[in-house]
């Protein structure tokens, strides 16, 4: 555990080493997120409400999604690189260490640009999410569950590369989750909606947590916890099984 904590500390120190670059990258990402808020404000300004979604609920969704994305793509940045590392044979340096490989890989790298998402999400919730102590507590819990689920999904799709030998699937999975999660889930119907609650659980990454913050519902919270746990276990198992098929690329990297 001490080794993992030191790894995480080093990753943050590395990201913060060039403060000017860190600030610039975080600002750019925040501007990027502002554009999405502007889009939704314009959209709902034009059409009013869409299947129970209005601009206030959408802002909550964006706050949850940017925070969760900031953690999954920024704090545990290697979650999205597992597939690439598996295919390129870049895990040699990890396997000789006396720590759990997956935990080490996840904590090893921080992506500064996505920390901008995390900062933006917090500011957005504070400014437009009507934060009360109760809502803030639910927001924090929902973001943690959402970021765990997103990270687990990225590791799961990335780990499939151990078996199929290509990493594009993991990249596509990442795009799918972030893209589909950024829309009101009720826009979808039929099979598409079913997919968003199961195979590509984008609904649980943003829409369900946003609704929880808006109006807490124990059944919904339980569903989020169960799905998060299920994907977490599946990701961990797939990675462990995948390691047995891992082939070294004879590249000594810092992962």
């Amino acid at each position: 555990m001490r080794g993992l904590l030191a790894t995480a500390r080093n990753a943050f120190a590395e990201a913060a080493a060039n403060r000017a670059a860190l600030g610039a990258q975080m600002t750019v990402m925040a501007v990027n997120d502002v554009v999405w808020v502007v889009f939704w404000v314009l959209f709902f300004g034009r059409v009013g409400t869409v299947r129970g979604w209005d601009v206030h609920l959408m802002v909550l969704l964006l706050a949850v999604l940017t925070c969760a994305g900031g953690i999954a793509l920024g704090v545990v940045a290697n979650a999205r690189r597992v597939g690439h590392m598996a295919v390129a044979g870049e895990l040699d340096s990890v396997l000789v260490l006396p720590v759990a490989p997956l935990a080490f890989v996840l904590l090893r790298r921080v992506e500064p640009v996505n920390l901008g998402d995390l900062a933006f999400g917090i500011v957005l919730f504070a400014a437009a999410g009507s934060p009360t102590p109760a809502r803030t507590a639910v927001f924090v819990g929902a973001v943690l569950a959402s970021s765990l689920l997103l990270s687990a999904f990225l590791v799961l799709t990335g780990s499939l590369s151990f078996f199929v030998g290509r990493s594009e699937g993991g990249e596509l999975g990442m795009h799918a989750m972030v893209l589909l999660g950024a829309y009101p889930v009720d826009v979808f119907a039929g099979v598409a909606k079913l997919v968003l609650y199961t195979v590509v659980p984008a609904a649980f990454v943003a829409a369900v947590p946003a609704r929880l913050v808006d109006a807490f519902d124990p059944a919904r919270a339980l569903a989020l916890a169960v799905v998060t746990a299920a994907f977490g276990v599946a990701a961990s198992l797939t990675f462990s099984l995948g390691l047995r098929r891992y082939t070294s690329g004879s590249v000594w990297t810092r992962a």
Binding site: V35, R46, V50, A192
Partner: protein
Amino acid sequence: MSRRAFAVTVATAARRVLADGGGFVVVLPFYVMVVAVLSGLWRVAAASNGGSVAGYSAVALTWYIASTEACTVSLDIRMIDEIGRDIASGAVAVELLRPASVLLVRVGTELGRALPRLASCLLAGAVLSTVSAGGPPRPAALLLALPSFVLAIACNLVTQHAFAAAAFWIRDAGSSWFLYQKLVFLAGGMLIPLEALPAWLRTTASLLPFRAMAYTPARLAAGHLEPALLLEQAGWLAVMTVVAAAAFRAGERRLQVVGG
């Protein structure tokens, strides 16, 4: 650079993309996903607004989104960053040795890489739009949109090069591609038809070149038979080519290469 040399550059890059095939593995599924989601959103919006939004019917909106996304997904979104890195690292110096314009060779190569992707996205978009919403609102306008798609890609490419040329002076195009992309998203009408924007934003967008990169072909494909849009687009292409060429000419004169 002769017209023939430019055509050969485009054709060679296109052949490479077709031979590789790997580039389609991510682009095409991603495109289909984005179009399905975004056009679905606009169709729901139209349905809850009496059947249309800003003068676009649900069918027109579907063809509009399929078109804007095809224009943007076909290009490498981080191109500004990559050009900037080549300039800042001095790698571009090797290209100066060729008896041809650095800008035109680069634009020609990227155009060649984009065209096969554009064609495949448009084909997928047409099938998806027809299945999910209906056939093209006005086939004659769709025919007019075909050259407009190529002009949109060309216009986007030269404008990205004009932006990236800043690296000759500041040695870093950094994350400016992110901001450029967002200008295409909103001022270019990629996410939302310009007619749906508030008046002040619509007026601003009408003064910028970004509308030529997504809105123009999409407006045509959505059934608006407005040939003047093609002329406007060609005008923006000419203006931005002059700007990019001037920026590269000036930048190449002050290029400093550190190391080897």
